[in-house]
Point group: D3
Chain length 322, copies 6
């Protein structure tokens, strides 16, 4: 059971629109805070989008996700899980990025996450564009390649852009596999769709052993079947979860830089995440929420809900392993 110090403030006590907004209305602990030693699940923002090849904006994601997270409640209506009861959760703040120097920021993120990992905290990250996953994986996978369940419209397995440039939000997992922080045979990508440049990314991934589930296969087989296969592939070994908001159809999540039509609904996305229960999860991220392209704020609200769903299965995994 968790320490009440780490419980969120209820919207029936403090109205949702009131108060300084931390993630999920949890206590915000600076790196120096001694309470940080007790945290088991840490929410972290990475306000950075220097890897974006098209429409920028995810640097504003953590701010807006914190804002909308004040509308969240605490118990999962489908699974009955209460992540805040299962383990000590806290807002660990943002990594301080350098918006004008991509490589400097890659290092800053890895440094930050190595410290988090050293304290035994499982991170739930709010991006940022998808390049943010790379420096996180470098920290979490330092001791051995991780498995990954990856929800996305894109493989992010491209080699390079713009004349050979290798670090963009389209390349993080190719780099992570090359660097040995991801085990391609334990990587499952779900929801892949959208017109392609040439398909080289998919060919390369499959050649490495990555399991790529296109949206057509996803809809044809159904969620239960696809997720069962995913759990089989991922097994009991440590697994990271990366959720790109563009996995979900742009009618539900317009606020993202590279939307692809023809995606799943928000309910289907919830079902996918709930099916992760039982995996050995060690961290997760929710990326590519881009407030400037989201006139109603609905993408952030959906993003917060996905973060909550992930927190439920992640907290359960942490509690089960305790």
């Amino acid at each position: 059971m968790s320490d009440p110090f780490f419980h969120p403030i209820s919207g029936q006590e403090l109205p949702r629109f009131a108060g300084v907004p931390s993630f999920m209305r949890l206590p915000y602990l600076t790196p120096e805070d001694p309470k940080r030693a007790e945290v088991e699940l840490g929410l972290i923002g990475i306000p950075w989008d220097a890897g974006t090849t098209n429409r920028p904006g995810p640097r504003h994601g953590p701010r807006q996700l914190r804002d909308y997270s004040t509308m969240m409640r605490r118990v999962n209506p489908a699974s009955g899980l209460d992540p805040f009861a299962l383990c000590n959760c806290a807002d660990l703040g943002d990594v301080n990025p350098n918006p004008v120097d991509l490589h400097d920021t890659l290092e800053r993120v890895t440094t930050f996450y190595k410290a988090v990992a050293a304290q035994g905290i499982a991170p739930m990250t709010a991006g940022g564009d998808h390049l943010t996953s790379l420096p996180v994986l470098r920290a979490l996978g330092a001791d051995g390649p991780l498995g990954m369940i990856h929800f996305d419209a894109h493989t992010d397995l491209y080699d390079s852009y713009f004349g050979g440039y290798r670090y963009t939000h389209g390349t993080p997992f190719r780099r992570a596999i090359e660097e040995g922080v991801l085990d391609p045979r334990r990587v499952v990508q779900i929801g892949i769709r959208g017109p392609m440049y040439d398909g080289e990314d998919i060919e390369w991934g499959r050649a490495q052993g990555v399991r790529i589930v296109t949206i057509e296969e996803f809809f044809e087989r159904g969620i239960a079947d696809v997720m069962e296969e995913a759990r089989d592939i991922l097994g009991d070994a440590p697994t990271y979860c990366s959720f790109d908001i563009d996995f979900i159809d742009p009618a539900y999540a317009p606020g993202t830089g590279t939307p692809e039509v023809g995606g799943p609904t928000s309910f289907q996305a919830q079902q996918c995440v709930r099916a992760l229960e039982g995996l050995n999860l060690i961290g997760a991220d929710l990326v590519e929420v881009s407030p400037p392209f989201d006139p109603s704020g609905g993408t952030a609200w959906l993003g917060v809900n996905i973060m909550f769903e992930i927190m439920c299965v992640l907290a359960k995994s942490l509690a089960d392993r305790r």
Copy 2:
């Protein structure tokens, strides 16, 4: 058959964007108008959101719903019902609310609806937040508890907020059951979802006999099955219909104060309402449309369509009982 005086103006005669906007382009009758005595189905606005615990705005709902209702036509394409042919319909205007005194407005609404009921008019209300249902039910259920079919993401069966305050848009049906204007054994709630505070609302409701259908059950069993059960529970006795626009997924209805992801589509919502045909309906409301959070106006347009679907089954019910 209805009196042509009460027919809406066609968009093929007067363009939809022209004219002073009354609900569905029906004649607008003030309380003093003698034609009011002939009305069978009255559209009424309650521009009021003083019960809102989070994001305000439904006070602007009736204005925008009238505006978009000028885009409506008259015949239901699925059922073939023409509510304007089935009975005399009119716009009865808005209840005059007191935006700064909640209890004063509760009384104003009940007074207004007692007069409407006394004239034998079945009301179709455009809210307003969900607290508006309470004073309406006080008027309509004055002679005995009503049944209710309730589409919503939330039960609105909470006891109190903010240190014991009992009148908010999260509490109307607890009050209505306590006051004896709703019969909890004839209340069916469909679509309940979203992270919970603690589940006390659901426990209390079920203990009273309320039938609560969560979104998971709804999707698993399917609309036809769920609605058949609902019709069985509601039977032939007088039944009120309350439709909170947040029943529908926020991709379809972003303009509302407390959206919950993972909901039904607009087509599914239409099917639900069409399945009410055959019930003994005596009134209805459509609530929680909040224009300030609806950049494209699509929520109001969907709300108008739901109002139209409800009017079809309500008019049929009135005509059948005639």
Copy 3:
């Protein structure tokens, strides 16, 4: 195989937000350009909405569709088709409309398309409101009535508006059938829904032999079944494809003048278009994208995706007939 001159510029070479935006980043050829003689599939804008009876805006459609089309890639992930490899594609610019004289513009469009047809170019049009289809059909169907697969929420088979006026975006196909440029027994309309004026349009259409598939039938039977019937009806003879963006639910496509709730998803729309493979397609249009009612730009992006899907089956049809 196509000439590389007609290939689109890749977003991995020139970022998507850079450059003067032509359709799909194809070469833009003025009417005088000698390369036009080599074009097989021409993208053309008709920035015109004088037939609009309600909310205007489609005159701005081609501009915004060009803009968003720079985010497109080239290979269809489901079918593997690459339209740009299958035939020579180019942007042929916009028809110059006269926004204040409807009949003058009808003539300008027909003249433009007769020249396109005379060069043996199959046109893929970006409207404009749905009246734009009429002058296009006058040009393409000049030598004999065409078949048509028509995705829409509305039949557009009305006779007249506003006291007998016969040319609006609600009447083009009635005129086209009357004028003998469409063969009603080879017209299939899919997705029809929304409250009706009186149903006269449907009655008239069915009396002529038009096959009208309502949304209820569409959802009940499923896409595969409906589209198989459509292909049977259309057979091997020349067929035009007209796609009104309001076929798709307004949650996915809010940016249109006459949205109707309860429609298909974007994925279902993609599946419908993909099912056209094998037809003898000779041209197509995508109409009613209205930027002023689309705060996020998502409707244009969906419209571009539909244009791409149509281009895939159209290019395949052109290549197969070569």
Copy 4:
């Protein structure tokens, strides 16, 4: 003194967001209403933009202006004038336009206004694009050419567009002068600015005797001086006032089709209208408010304020002549 029947409803009694919105919350009188005989100043909407050469939308102007006019109060804080006390004011509804037939609508408007003029009502029109002024002037100037005070960024004195088409929102006053319903020597245009096609409109206007005050002259001489000259030119003879919302800088009035930067503030616009006191005003219009290009609604609110200012001086003129 006016009849209290014609007084607006106060926002201290009925909240501004409540009620069916008529202009200024005045009684809405259909053409058949017998109370219409007592009206002295009538507010009329012309929801029509068929003359628009660029971005459409003013057809939605009257609807939104009615909506925002419910936020208006009744006494002018600068002059102390209360137009509702000075004469009987009412909302006379909208002219029913034919959006797809320009010439039909020109006739419909003139017919409507001849009836209004025959009843001795001074019209205050809410457009609509600027072409709406032409059919109004044809009705009001039928017995002899009128003078006109014209606030606008453009002269609207062009001869023709798009290959000789003579009826657009850029040509109304050239037509009105040619037709003899305006006396060019008693036409004063203020605020003219923006890059020019070739200046032919200004040359033609000056050759007819129109007094054209450019924005540079306006700012250099100041409002008092310019308006004094305008009053001298207009004298005691009947004068119409036409106010294009694009007279005001687009920072204040973005919601218009042809904005021109470098214009006056809203305060300067108020001062200009207030300086019309003393003229023999017989009618007025406020045109080119285009809701689709006005994300915040501020243009409509400014438009309502200008309508109120014009009503003050118009009502004073009517009362003085009584």
Copy 5:
């Protein structure tokens, strides 16, 4: 000189979009924090709009003002003042309001501010609608009536609304004068404008001795002259500053519930506040920023700038009195 603990974080060290947003990036101190005893100038949010008679939204003001305040820097370019160097500044969080019980919240606010005052902290409040000023004045003026410099389009001196209701955002200063917490002879209101109900508010205010400067007088005399008079009236006694964002023209500040056209520019507003240097300021508020009516966020950004300007003169006043 201030303690560096209380200095804001620079945007040259932590990008403006990063981090949990406190007011001005100052340390956030809960009521229990021992560092609170060292605070001299406290920023406090009152997220509450229950007194709003028209369009709601200011309850969301403090959240958005905190967000935009992260774009602020620290030195005033005109006066050279650095409020963070002059005294210890901190974010003291939000008052916890009860959104559904107006009187309960009035008490909560007063209680909160009495504690703040007891600690010797001068409060800079971010509202909230203008009713929030009343409970603050009740706390600050408990020991004797205060003077007030009041920038606003409205007097907020009305007696009652909606049938005698005395507590709205249009009545706070009438109540404050009646209750003896404001000295009417030391109240100066600047910027008053907009059509009036009947002028009773102005008459009452002037009868009490309030100095009301209309916008016409303001523009005619100029800022220097008006502000000199204001300083003379206010003298050396304790003075509160209340700044309603609707003082500024809605082109600059559209995001507010009751905008009035014809107001000052943002530069003029800055000059007005800078002219308060030398007064004996003891607290201030910035109210009526309403995010739902502010599509670009510019109103919040302007609001933050005004807060900064007020903080400069308030901190100077505190430092001078030390």
Copy 6:
């Protein structure tokens, strides 16, 4: 006199919303086009914002500026200048940027502009954030330091950000002075305002001899006086003009990343640019237009107007030197 090949298309011939949008509707010439040799004034887009320290978006500037530039006409109403008649103007397309590698893009821009300069073309650039000016100046100032007239709210003379990073949109002119491509004694900065970090930028600039005119000085002395001084300082030697859209008040130009309240109006901005007539201008840029923060598009429209004003004085300067 110019060659008619280089004249823009008139909106009276092709409606403004029609056609593929090139800058000012001029011919678009690729680098290989032989007609490029005849160009005297070239419009170039630099869609790049990698130097942005706060809110990104200017990478989308050139696209939107091209779009809105189709609403432009050709003759300056104040000066009578017609830039398209004075010299051959053309759209030279966009520099192809590398959005994920800042230094690569710096080189790409300089290379592009050296080629432009080598052809004797004076460039009018549409940015892009303000860092884009640096590589342009490196190309244009390669043969000797240039003078510069600089309109901006910020000096952009900072040394470094984020721990010593020297290339951001806040540092271009410090770098340009250090590198000897700008002569600080012939640099005039006008409009400087907004709260400061510490003022080091201003001190450094003044120490180098830069003439910095704050907004307070600007408003106090007036445009004519300030601009006369500027012309004196700049003299007859080659001068570059850099115009940051945030020079203008955010009420007029909200669509920018670092707005500062209290700025000039659009009319004042026009007057400033018109006062450049007589200088020896050799190129110019308009930067920091950020479409994602501009809900109405008004900032781009204002930006296009400023580009037009600059083109008038630049074309005059080119013609005079011919």
